[in-house]
Assembly symmetry: C2
Homo-oligomer: 203 residues x 2
């Protein structure tokens, strides 16, 4: 099946929209079914095309698939995130490169001065945080688009994860997620969401 | 077509993946084709199901569809973002509610103390920024899933947008995007992305 740009104004079918959004759930438990390396690479290949400011793509993705690697992470997870993390086949640390501007001469070639737009460290950090979070959102929807389930967590010792996995680099952890094929175990009923009028407005 | 959870482990077809990710492009120009209000509401209805920490869903969505509303925004946009913004049929200010914790008794009902986890303002702001950015990512992919195109921008006067659109509220702007049916006008060749080995690692 090839992509026809003239039909990109048509919505995906309801089954696809349900898989990506309306019926998808954060999973707290995962089956033993492994996630092949080829699928992790395909997941990155989709994620990287999502839009970021000046194509900066500051997110970095550390896939922990071995028992040894996942056991290194577990002590830094809060409360019951620890057990969930150890049970999932893959943990992913979504990091952000706080020196992403060094890649801009290559990633944003039509504006040779783009690196200098991010000389200020606080502004650069804000941009890295915003854009790596956007990429984290792309990553989770791309995972679902590939038939995977996710369980994101922000309750962990960030300084500890930085020291254990990113020491001596400009990468810092943003958030962490479990990845694999989810089960219904420990699945809460879906919590309510805000109505349109509570969260949105049309002017 | 109904959703069958037993098939959610299957990837969407390549045409859908291309529409969402690999062939989708940030658009700098949009056709005059309007975006009906029903489609904006459907877009919000998909976006709101994306995962956020403690179901906080801190993003707020201000859709500017009238000429008057879009002219109020334009003066705050940087450089050539101004002209792009005026040409698009819809501008969306993705905001974040820095007092999202007040909604948690309703949004996260199984943990009655969740509001108090966010008493610290700096930690709350970080969570609002991360999670509203994640929701911004969901929003953009959901827009593409509905056949729309997006053009996100973070070059604008945030204090000015806050004062013009969110004065006296706990909402602050995160980023802004143009929304509609894109054209190929002013479309750069796609910029390069980092290879897997440059942005990711498997342990």
């Amino acid at each position: 099946m090839t992509y026809d740009p003239s039909t990109r104004d048509v919505a995906l079918d309801d089954t696809a929209l349900a898989q990506l959004f309306s019926e998808a759930r954060t999973r707290n438990d995962f089956s033993d079914r492994p996630v092949p390396e080829a699928l992790l690479r395909r997941l990155y290949d989709l994620t990287r095309f999502g839009p970021t400011a000046v194509n900066s793509t500051p997110a970095r993705f550390l896939f922990l698939t071995s028992v040894e690697a996942r056991q290194r992470l577990a002590p830094f997870m809060s409360g019951n995130n620890r057990e969930k993390t150890l049970k999932a086949p893959v943990n992913v640390i979504i990091g952000m490169d706080t020196r992403f501007h060094e890649t801009l001469p290559r990633l944003f070639p039509h504006a040779p001065g783009a690196r200098d737009w991010f000389a200020d460290e606080a502004a650069r950090r804000e941009s890295a945080f915003r854009n790596s979070s956007l990429q984290g959102g792309y990553f989770m929807i791309a995972a679902r688009a590939l038939g995977l389930d996710v369980g994101p967590m922000s309750g962990f010792d960030a300084a500890g994860v930085k020291a254990e996995f990113f020491a001596g680099t400009s990468v810092e952890p943003n958030f962490i997620l479990n990845l694999g094929y989810g089960t219904d175990e420990n699945l809460f009923p879906r919590s309510p969401r805000l109505d349109f009028e509570e969260a949105a407005q049309i002017l």
